[in-house]
Symmetry: C2
Subunit: 500 residues, 2 copies
């Protein structure tokens, strides 16, 4: 094998893997968007076959030989090619440890889990979901043991979403947050509460769709390469490369800000994906490097941009134009306060910036204990409700708005949740750095997102998966990650908001 040929083969192999990813991602997306409800077994059949094909492709002798040859000739590869080979070998070595029949069974299980979760949520029936969720957790425990027998199983999954993350670091990070957030929430509870009535009312979905379109254009999302659809749970997905990205939202007719912030949040993910360097398309470098960094971009847009006073003032005329009757007695300041009302609540995706991390901590605790075999899936709802009471002080009236609310477990995204909190913290530190050279407030007043997007593209987006999450972050920040920047931001923001 010549090095020249091996490099060509590397790109061809990457493209082939991207094509399989395109197909499987689209089949999943179809299931979440427009598929008739009796068709999940049909998707399961196809996904298990395509899963087997891509497993064979990835772990086949030819592939392994190629990547090992390139790895042993690392010094003759570009930085990009080195990283591609590293990432592909890492994935393949994990995959090789999962027996083929188990890998295929997993594809089928995930289609079933997604389908059952939808029905269980719809009918508020955890008992329906329980057996399949148990299978999912058992499967993920087994995978961790196969892939990294020397590692704690939950650490394996945390590290899977954010290289370097483990329970010890999570515990420390969450302790830092808790020490600031809990007293803040207490102080706020003793103050007069914000009137958020302006966000409730009757907001026809077709008008909300117009608002989504406006928000996406405002953020300068390339709508020729990014579509928007409606799903039970909002998410972002790419098909084959960053040239085709889709985001989804969920409209609530009685509350227009729920979808508004979903669109901004998912739009933040989309911008990250869409702005990877073009030459990384169809390679392992395409798209974001970790869920922590990904969430830093989505939470950056959702909260630091979307919940700022300047942004709310910027979009308020459009809101008023779309909902003249509903908004006639309200000002931009009313809306700004309403979308920043700190109040323990049931639904994570609609939580305010301050209480949000407590929602994450509930999930983190539960996952940790399930992986430590200290908690059974059967007891999840009870424990969920108990922790909501303990951390947020609220009673969970049903599982639909409780343990069944998120799609992560049915989607196999276990160990993912801490990424949201980490991302929120990364985002604030990135904003602080950005403000050294970009007058962000001024940009928002003018509705000019170019300088903001350019900064993020220069420091984060363009690199795709070229660097590890911490390399990328430290390169952008010029310093180490420091969660107190986040807690200081929260303290400052909410002290002002509530005159604490």
């Amino acid at each position: 094998m010549t090095l020249e040929q091996a490099k060509k083969d590397l790109y061809a192999l990457s493209a082939k893997m991207a094509a399989y990813n395109h197909a499987t991602a689209l089949i999943f997306f179809d299931g979440a968007t427009t598929a008739p409800k009796g068709t999940s077994a049909n998707r399961g059949q196809t996904l298990s076959i395509l899963g087997e094909e891509s497993y064979n492709l990835a772990t086949g002798e030819q592939t392994v030989q190629l990547l090992e040859f390139l790895d042993s000739n690392k010094d003759s590869l570009s930085k990009e090619e080195q990283r591609m080979v590293f990432l592909m070998l890492k994935d393949i070595r994990d995959m090789q440890k999962i027996p083929l029949e188990e890998y295929v069974a997993l594809q089928k299980l995930m289609v079933e889990a997604d389908d059952v979760w939808h029905r269980a949520k719809e009918t508020d029936d955890f008992a329906l979901f329980e057996p399949v969720l148990e299978k999912v957790f058992d499967f993920y425990k087994k995978i961790a043991k196969w892939c990294a027998p020397e590692m704690d199983s939950y650490d394996y999954w945390l590290n899977n979403y954010e290289t370097g993350l483990n329970k010890a670091r999570c515990d420390e990070f969450f302790a830092t947050l808790r020490s600031k957030i809990v007293p803040l929430i207490k102080k706020i509870s003793e103050k007069p509460q914000i009137d958020d009535s302006c966000i409730y009312g009757d907001f026809p979905v077709y008008k909300q769709k117009e608002l989504s379109d406006y928000l996406m254009r405002l953020m300068k999302i390339d709508m020729d390469h990014c579509g928007l659809l409606t799903t039970e749970h909002p998410f972002t997905i790419s098909f084959g490369s960053h040239h085709d990205v889709r985001i989804t939202t969920n409209y609530h007719q009685d509350n227009f800000v729920s979808s508004l912030y979903s669109v901004i949040h998912e739009g933040g993910h989309a911008l990250y994906d869409l702005n990877t360097k073009d030459e990384y398309a169809y390679t392992a470098l395409d798209g974001g490097v970790s869920m922590g960094i990904h969430e830093s971009q989505s939470r950056f847009y959702e909260n630091l941009i979307g919940r700022s006073r300047e942004y709310v003032e910027l979009i308020f005329p459009k809101v008023k134009e779309l909902f003249p009757e509903q908004m006639k007695n309200y000002t931009a300041e009313d809306l700004y306060k309403a979308v920043n009302k700190a109040q323990p609540s049931l639904i994570r995706t609609e939580a305010d910036e301050l209480t949000y991390c407590l929602h994450i901590m509930v999930r983190y605790e539960l996952e940790k204990r399930i992986f430590a075999d200290e908690l059974s899936v059967h007891d999840l709802p009870k424990e969920w409700n108990r922790l909501y009471k303990e951390y947020l002080g609220i009673d969970v009236p049903n599982d639909k708005e409780g343990v069944l609310q998120d799609s992560h477990w049915s989607g196999g995204n276990i160990g993912y949740f801490p990424s949201y909190a980490l991302g929120s913290a990364y985002g604030v530190q990135l904003l602080k750095k950005m403000e050294e050279t970009v007058n962000v407030k001024e940009c928002l007043k003018k509705g000019d997102f170019e300088p903001i997007n350019n900064w993020l593209k220069e420091h984060i987006w363009q690199y795709g998966s070229l660097f590890t999450p911490s390399e990328l972050l430290e390169k952008a920040l010029g310093e180490k990650f420091d969660p107190t920047v986040f807690t200081d931001y929260l303290e400052d923001k909410f002290t002002k908001l509530y005159n604490l």
Copy 2:
């Protein structure tokens, strides 16, 4: 290789092919429904790679050996397995004659053609479409030469959609139709014309969507396995098996019957696919046997059922409920007459039963001449317009409503159009046969589609591709196909309608 193992391998191979078909059909469907408009190159990349994978699977040594082994042991196979092996070998032998790089190039070309056609139709710009359409026709000429060098190229494609069909038979069939239809149209033109004003007005799309849902339920389409979406051009597609079927329609706010008959037409296709025997799923026997038979089912539902007096009377109360203002001055009889108004028109999919076949003849003539190199793609619009004048007596005002109206050429469905006319004729003969044992009029009066669907399932739907089109048809009819049954039906219907 043991026969037992070979049979197992046959089903595994079929399932794998079905999985690739699922993926590629869904990627195409995504492009036609919800994909952002700048993403077609991304789909082209994936489709060309998956195309190469399935080409290699289909033509690989292992596959060919397996099928040839089974073929040489035909006598030990069930009737079903014999047919599966026959159909798969036939496809593979054709595929083997197309060089791999050409096969891959074709996948990319078809994505491009679909994309360019959409834009060309939108902007009424045939010049934009011309170069890619030329490539498509050239490609299909080449494929015919590779696959059947001994055959006339256009005959190859006619036979591809309807086994046994060729130009000579088409010419004869169309001559039979023309000899009855043309004088009928002339007689009608001398009579007072039908007032069809009840179908025009302002019909909000969301109300039309409710109507679609009602129509699909009425036809007893299994909505758990059949979805409905909106596209530029209505079509029916299956994903991997008959367990997941999708139909599409196109709503016109100013005319509610356009989508109404699209839904019924595509619903007829869907019923055929959905009701294949369950054990044929994921094999070459799944789904309809030919486009002629497929169109016989869709045109059966659209015209023989949908445009009958009894059916219009059946659905009229629902139409009135959805559009009370628009319909307040009209009766079911007005609507029945309006949807049967025979009048030369521009758009094939909206043509009445009588003039419809003339639209087909225009397309047939043009394809025939292009394949005979007697007509260039460049001259297509001019020739299209000339033939519309000659056959239908009307002037085509623009290419959007002329040569750009159909998606068939951009979709590579060349030689397909005669299937519509054949299917229309098959359908009438099937109805006549059905009426020997089923009181169809009575069923429609009661809105009871069970006996109709049961008859079609028993005689047509369940068999999938087990029989050749003519075997299936003759088995159902107990006699040979006779196009004069169709022309007699037209003469009878329109003589009564217009008091000729």
